[in-house]
Amino acid sequence: MNQFRRTFLKGAGAAGTVAVAVAAGLLKPTQVLAAEWNKAGFTATKLDEALKTIGGAGAAESKDILVKAPDIAENGAVVPVEIESKIPGTTSIALIIETNLNPLCSTYDFSNGALGYVSTRVKMAKSSKVRAIVKAGGKTYTAAKEVKVTIGGCGG
């Protein structure tokens, strides 16, 4: 038996196990199909690279996106951020902290009636623009708000 055949059979065996697990209800199909974590984007240290992985390069500035965050954050470890997109047909929002070590903070995909709105709390290493990248109707839009941080929330 040659090596290729061995590897192939091994792979087929493993796939069979997954199918059995699905059939037995151990794994819900939705969990299997969930999009894989965007490792390239979340570990990128440059803003441009992070933007590329989410298709956010060249997004148009929009006044229909509200980025709500404090002007001055006393504690960078907990900065409340709210993003609301009033653009019809908003399908996703990505949240970016431009000067963080890894600028891409989180992404949100909406479906089945969820509005283009998200509220969260983020860590900021230092003062930065908090940027939202919104996808709606196949186009990308962006808006940002400057937040001054007096005590950083990463490291130390």
Partner: protein, 104 residues
């Protein structure tokens, strides 16, 4: 890590306003243990999904830049009182948690 997640879901007009509070350390992997000088390994939630009556409404991916004990708020149009909201998360170590609530 089996600390319960809290969900509060209320109707505001025809929109369900869902607020979730999770219990997680959200370690960045960039912090050093002051005693040993070693980096504390990253441990954070990577994926959060929410469903209303079994239909996916939010599929979210997170990095370590989300604050400790994360808060998440989202809104769903067309949901109604009595609908069931389920929120799931998975972290980078494969730990999971799930919670459900009824929209009130």
């Amino acid at each position: 890590m089996a600390d319960p997640m809290k969900i509060r879901a209320t109707m505001q007009g025809d929109v369900a306003d869902v607020k979730v509070l999770m219990s997680h350390i959200m370690e960045t992997g960039q912090r050093k243990d002051p005693k040993t000088g070693q980096l504390i390994p990253a441990h954070f939630i990577q994926e959060v999904t929410a469903t209303v009556n079994g239909k996916l409404v939010l599929d979210s991916q997170w990095s370590q830049a989300i604050s400790k004990n994360p808060f998440l708020g989202f809104k769903v149009k067309g949901a109604k009182a009595g609908d069931k909201v389920v929120v799931n998360w998975v972290d980078n170590k494969g730990e999971k948690n799930t919670a459900e609530a009824t929209i009130g």
